[in-house]
Every structure is written in structure tokens, then in C-alpha cells.
């Protein structure tokens, strides 16, 4: 759970019509207007013909306001979900390939256990680990594994959803 404030990273959800070129409309909007994209994920939703993007950007309130309005202005954008005012959950998945020799293997497995991660591929020299979590958790495991020798990292970028009202 996080709440955004000034000058920080911001998460925006974008519901789009699943048409050719829609990704480049969104990406082009950001590059053309000088907005930042920290991460961008996109995949189909449960509704046919509709995809959902989650993008993480940064900027002050005025820039954020513009980003939301400009996204809304795109014809293929159905809805923009601005997470500035709402509490939301967000998750990211990372695959991390780590060097695993006799000295480090046990330590890696301990870390995997602590972070509730999974080993998804094993070879004589490497473990590939799958870990899911928010930004802080991913950063923490990468730091720990980094000390043991990371070979490769592939991250999905963030997916986000507003929390449902409790009452």
C-alpha cells in the first residue's frame, strides 16, 4: 500500500481499447510531451477487446494533472485510473538469475524462503528465482542477491489496482 505525494513516483492505470498502435499512442504521448515513464505494463483484461496498462511516472502535481488529462484525450483510452488519491495495491514480478556455487547455494535458498520467492530453474552453476512483491520487496531481495552475484534480471514492471472500500 502506498500513497503518492509531491515530486515522487506516481502510478496510473489506463484502460484502453485493444487496437493496433494503442501502445505507441501512449508511449508517443509520453516521449512527445517530455513526460517520464519509469515502467509500463500492458496486458488484456477479462473484458474482450480491452487491455489495461499500468504505468509509473514522475513529476509535480501540474505535470501529473497534464498526464492524466492527455491520456484521457487519446481516443482509444477508455478510462484513466489516477492512484494519487486512492490507496492501492501494486505488485511486480522479477526473474533473477544468480550464481549458485557450493558456498552460496544455502544462503540463496534461505533468502528465497524469507522472501517467499521460488526457484524456477536450476543448473549446476545458476539458480533462477521468481519473486513477486511491491517495489520495496523487489529492491530488498535484489540487494541481498546482488551480494552473491546476480547474472541477469528481468522485471515485469508494476501492476496496480485500487483497494476496495472496507465498509
Amino acid at each position: 500500500m502506498e500513497k503518492h505525494s509531491n515530486g515522487q513516483k506516481h502510478t496510473i492505470g489506463v484502460l484502453v481499447e485493444n487496437r493496433p498502435g494503442v501502445l505507441s499512442r501512449v508511449a508517443g504521448l509520453f516521449s512527445g510531451r517530455g513526460f517520464n515513464i519509469e515502467s509500463l505494463t500492458v496486458a488484456e483484461t477479462n473484458e474482450p477487446g480491452m487491455s489495461r496498462m499500468t504505468l509509473v511516472t514522475s513529476g509535480d502535481q501540474q505535470v501529473l494533472e497534464q498526464i492524466v488529462k492527455q491520456l484521457n484525450k487519446l481516443i482509444n483510452v477508455i478510462k484513466v485510473i489516477d492512484f494519487r488519491e486512492t490507496e492501492f495495491v501494486n505488485r511486480e514480478m522479477a526473474l533473477v538469475k544468480v550464481r549458485a556455487d557450493q558456498q552460496t547455494r544455502a544462503e540463496i535458498l534461505r533468502i528465497v524462503d524469507i522472501f517467499r520467492a521460488k526457484v524456477v530453474d536450476v543448473s549446476p552453476l545458476f539458480y533462477t528465482i521468481e519473486v513477486t512483491g511491491d517495489e520495496g520487496k523487489i529492491a530488498a531481495i535484489l540487494e541481498l542477491l546482488g551480494q552473491l552475484g546476480i547474472m541477469e534480471v528481468a522485471r515485469t514492471g508494476k501492476a496496480a489496482m485500487a483497494r476496495s472500500k472496507k465498509h
Binding site: G21, R25, I75, K79
Partner: protein
């Protein structure tokens, strides 16, 4: 019954009431051209696709209808890009149809293939690649709808050759349904009430009107609103004509409207820029706080609360944070405001505004727009004044870009909407002549004048033949100073007179050039010759180029240097 894509194309255009297409053929659109003679739609054959784009633009701006442009793939399509961007910046409704290579060849670097949908994405309101002939009618319907609704703009439809050759059942959809497109036209009453309260409290209000007023057809409402709240009105370049600059007196003589401040911004009048700088309330209507208007942002209307009416939410608080945003169609919002002030008029309004109008009058007296007419040499401002006088202010004026454009904005008094067609946002040299042709197509009996510079007229001069062979008697007034005058002026003021690449003393003889095209060429080189040349040009029922040899190093003033407050004007 099944129709070919090329026939569906024309059936759709008929349904949209299209009367004219500006275009240029080529391999990828040859199927469409093959069907053209069977349909009662006029085609104006241009000499360069950029010309077609600006003609569709001039037609659209002069009429308020959607302009249509048809070109082939590859270079045909890329040649329209400047015209598309011009229309996008100034919110002009145009549908561009571009040919494309057959769908199986797309992506193969085929002959005359270019990804025009990719290229035009950032400068269209929306665009389409039609991959299936069964989608063609729906796409065209949507394209026209998008172009004209909300904040208007250009829409591009890319038509692969095999798609227009294929057959489908023709059904023109009755309604358009685009999930993600619902422009807010109805201004929020709560916001209107809040605006009303601010206006009630204001002592020194200024109305800052832009092109949106013209687009939404709200000139009458604006004039009524300004009258009810007794506020002076300034307009952007795009807004000129939305508020009458001149008023007719009881005996028919015309005098400057005391409520009219003239244009504001970089080359705005002293009184407009001072009024904005001293206002306690700025009412922005269909304007977008462009940098040429605001100068240094922090110094723009520093004492004012701001109300901003615009149909495009992204225009609001983009450059300047406003106090009361009102998203909606200008006409709708103004009608509501007018209604409110008619029901509940401001008390003692004449009295309470007296000091403010006195101050404005004083600014006008201190620094009016002036130039010094000399005995032997024509001043460009004098030419524009004469054009105004001799056309009774009733012409449709187009301009090119640069000094010619600014002098026109300053010295031709625009009293009616859609009488100034000029490339404001993009600043496209070469716009004026084709735009004039487009406007003349729409209004064959009106006087249409392109005020040009000797530089910019050469950017689309090839379209003179289009005017000649289509019997479109546009008049071109070249303010010929043998320079790229606006850049030269900047070099003079800010670059130690280093006139690098701005001298155009190697130029064609514009009179002979006109004659070689079958138009008429006239020249004036002294002030006495100006009026007879204009009179003669107006009397000729053919395209005419008037070549006015004007003072070479005349500048446009007032001028706000880039990055300065608009109150910091250079005055001559």
C-alpha cells in the same frame, strides 16, 4: 448490393455532405480516382500535396465545415504532414485520406510505402489504417465525427490499395460509438456560478478570447457578454474577428470599438498588454495561454484571478494555473453566463468601470499602433491599412507567416469571425496562398486576399496555377522587403545585425511570374501607386499578384522580447 471500397469511399463522402476534395493522384489511390467522375463531388487538383492540405484547411476555417484532402501513399502522404500539423495546432477539422500500399506489402519497404499512421500520430487528433473493406464506412463516419466534434482537429485515414479495390456491403452507420470519446460540451453550472461571483467582485476585468470562440460560433454571445459585464476584450491571433474591432457610428463612419484592445502578446498592442498586466480578473475563453501570448509566465496577468473556459481539459492549467476552470463549449458557457447576467445585471456598471476604461483610453493615447509613412517609400503597414480601407473590411484575409502576418493582425481591423485565416500555432510559411484558394472555393464571390511576404509566398507559389485554372480570383499582396523580415528583425535586435541567411535580394520578378502562370501581376514602388494598384487588382476577375516594394528594414512593433514580461515592450 456490394460496392467496391472506392465506391464506398464516395458514398460515405456524399453522406457527409462533402462538396469538394483537394487532392493529387498516384498509384495507391488510382482506384479512387477511377470512380471519381461518377460522383458529383468537385475535385481541385493541386500541384503539391502540401497545397492540398492547406486548401482543405482554408476551406474548413472559412466555412466551419470539414475539409477533405486526398493524396497517394509515400511522398504524397509525407507532403501533407506540414499541413496536418498546421491544422492540428489550430484545431481545424480536416479528414486526410492517404493511399497505402496493398496490405500484404505493408512493412516490406514497398514502392512508395511509408508508415504515415506512425508519422502523423503526434499531429492528428486520431488516425486509422483500414485493413478490411468491411470497416471502411464505419471508419470514415468516425473520422468525420472526430474531426468536427469537441476540440476539432485533423484525422487521417490510411487506405491500402487492396482495401479500396475489395468489395463489401455498403451500410453507413447512423451513430458513432467510441467508448473513450465523450467531449464535455455542457459547462458546469456550479463553475459558471463561481465565475459569476468573481466577475461581480472585479474592478478591472479583461476578456482574453481565442480561436475557440470562432470555432464554437460564439462571437455574438461573446459580444453580448462583454457588453453585460462592461469588460474590454483582447484576442489572440487565432481569435481576431471574434469581437468587432470597429463600430459603425450613427452617420455610418467607423471608429475603433472602445471595448476592443487589439491583439495581445509578443506583437500585441500596448493597451492590450498593459490591460492584461493590470487586470484583477482575466476571463480566458477558447484560448490556450500560448508562449507567444504570455511571454514570461510568472509575469502574465500577475494581479489577476483567472477564469478559463475551454472545451479541451488539457488546455486548462497547462501553462498557467487558473482559479476557475470551466470545461465546455465556449458557446454553451457564454450562453449560460449571458443568461445569468441578464437575469441579475451588475449594478452601476458604467460608473464602476469608468476608471478602468479611462486608464485603457490613456494607454491607447500614449502608445497607439504607429508607423512613420515616408514620402518616397512604401511602409508595409500602409499597404495593410489600404487593403482594409479599400475592401471595406469585408475581405477574407489569409496570411503567410512572419512580419506580413503580424502587420495584418495589427492593421487590418477584423470585425467578423472566419475572416482571418492564418497559421497561428505552427507558424507555417506557405500557408496563405493555398488557404486563400480553399476559402475562395467555398466563397467564389467574396474578395479573398493573401497578405504575403516575398519569402513565404515562394513556399507554395506552385498553387498559383491551381487558382488560375480553377477560376479562383484570389489576390496576393506581397509586402516585398527582400528579406526574411521577421528573422532579420530578430537578428537586428538580438544578434548584432548579423543578417545571416535572411537576405533575399535574389528573387523572381513577381509580376512576370504572375504572368507566366496566366495570372495578373501589378507592382507598386511608391506610396501613391499603392491605392491604384489595389483598386485595379480588386477589379480584375482573375488571380492577381500585387508586388509592393516596401521599406526593407521596417520592424514589427510593439515587440515583447522572448522570455520577457508582456508589459516590457519595445515600442519602435
Amino acid at each position: 448490393m456490394k460496392l467496391k471500397g472506392s465506391q464506398i469511399f464516395f458514398e460515405c463522402l456524399k453522406k457527409e455532405g462533402v462538396e469538394v476534395i483537394f487532392g493529387f493522384p498516384g498509384g495507391a489511390v488510382i482506384d479512387i480516382y477511377n470512380e471519381m467522375p461518377k460522383y458529383d463531388i468537385r475535385h481541385v487538383l493541386v500541384r503539391h500535396e502540401q497545397g492540398a492540405a492547406h486548401m482543405a484547411d482554408g476551406y474548413a476555417r472559412a466555412t466551419g465545415r470539414v475539409g477533405v484532402c486526398l493524396v497517394t501513399s509515400g511522398p504524397g502522404a509525407t507532403n501533407t504532414v506540414t499541413g496536418i500539423a498546421t491544422a492540428y495546432m489550430d484545431s481545424v477539422p480536416i479528414v486526410f485520406f492517404t493511399g497505402q500500399v496493398p496490405t500484404p506489402l505493408i512493412g516490406n519497404d514497398a514502392f512508395q510505402e511509408v508508415d504515415i499512421v506512425g508519422i502523423s500520430r503526434p499531429c492528428t487528433k486520431h488516425n486509422y489504417l483500414v485493413k478490411d473493406v468491411n470497416d471502411l464506412a464505419t471508419v470514415i463516419k468516425e473520422a468525420f465525427f472526430l474531426a468536427r466534434s469537441g476540440r476539432p482537429g485533423p484525422v487521417l485515414v490510411d487506405l491500402p490499395k487492396d482495401v479500396v479495390a475489395a468489395e463489401a456491403e455498403f451500410r453507413y452507420p447512423k451513430k458513432v460509438e467510441i467508448k473513450g470519446y465523450r467531449p464535455t460540451l455542457d459547462a458546469h453550472v456550479g463553475q459558471i456560478k463561481r465565475a459569476h461571483q468573481l466577475i461581480e467582485k472585479s474592478k478591472r476585468p479583461v476578456i482574453y478570447a481565442g480561436g475557440g470562440v470562432i470555432i464554437s460560433g460564439a462571437s455574438e454571445e461573446l459580444t453580448r457578454f462583454a457588453q453585460l459585464i462592461q469588460a474590454p476584450v483582447t484576442a489572440t491571433l487565432m481569435g481576431l474577428g471574434c469581437f468587432p474591432a470597429m463600430l459603425e457610428g450613427p452617420t455610418g463612419e467607423k471608429d475603433l470599438n472602445p471595448q476592443w484592445l487589439g491583439m495581445l502578446g509578443m506583437h500585441g498592442t500596448f493597451r492590450a498588454n498593459m490591460a492584461v498586466s493590470h487586470a484583477d480578473l482575466l476571463i480566458a475563453i477558447g484560448a490556450r495561454f500560448d508562449d507567444r501570448v504570455t511571454g514570461k509566465i510568472s509575469g502574465f496577468a500577475p494581479k489577476a484571478k483567472i477564469i478559463h473556459i475551454d472545451v479541451d481539459p488539457t488546455s486548462i492549467s497547462k501553462n498557467v494555473v487558473v482559479d476557475i476552470p470551466i470545461v465546455g463549449d465556449c458557446k454553451n458557457a457564454l450562453q449560460k453566463l449571458v443568461h445569468m447576467f441578464e437575469k441579475d445585471p451588475l449594478e452601476n456598471i458604467d460608473e464602476s468601470r469608468a476608471a478602468w476604461f479611462e486608464q485603457i483610453h490613456e494607454w491607447r493615447q500614449t502608445y497607439p499602433l504607429v508607423y512613420k509613412q515616408e514620402r518616397d517609400i512604401i511602409k508595409p503597414q500602409f499597404v495593410v491599412e489600404k487593403l482594409y480601407e479599400l475592401s471595406n473590411g469585408n475581405a477574407i484575409i489569409t496570411t503567410e507567416v512572419g512580419q506580413n502576418q503580424m502587420w495584418t493582425a495589427q492593421y487590418y481591423h477584423f470585425n467578423h469571425p472566419r475572416t482571418l485565416l492564418t497559421s497561428g500555432g505552427l507558424g507555417t510559411m506557405g500557408y496563405g496562398l493555398p488557404a486563400a484558394i480553399g476559402a475562395q472555393v467555398a466563397f467564389p464571390d467574396r474578395l479573398v486576399i493573401d497578405v504575403a511576404g516575398d519569402g513565404s509566398i515562394q513556399m507554395n507559389i506552385q498553387e498559383l496555377i491551381t487558382a488560375v485554372c480553377n477560376g479562383l480570383p484570389v489576390k496576393v499582396a506581397i509586402l516585398n522587403n527582400k528579406y526574411l523580415g521577421m528573422v532579420r528583425q530578430w537578428q537586428e535586435l538580438f544578434y548584432a545585425k548579423n543578417y545571416c541567411a535572411t537576405c533575399l535580394d535574389a528573387a523572381p520578378d513577381f509580376v512576370k511570374l504572375a504572368e507566366s502562370y496566366g495570372a495578373v501581376g501589378l507592382r507598386a514602388s511608391t506610396p501613391e501607386e499603392v491605392e491604384p494598384v489595389i483598386r485595379e487588382a480588386f477589379s480584375i476577375k482573375k488571380p492577381v499578384i500585387m508586388d509592393f516594394l516596401v521599406a526593407q528594414e521596417e520592424g514589427v512593433y510593439p515587440m515583447v522580447p522572448a522570455g520577457k514580461n508582456i508589459s516590457e515592450m519595445l515600442l519602435v
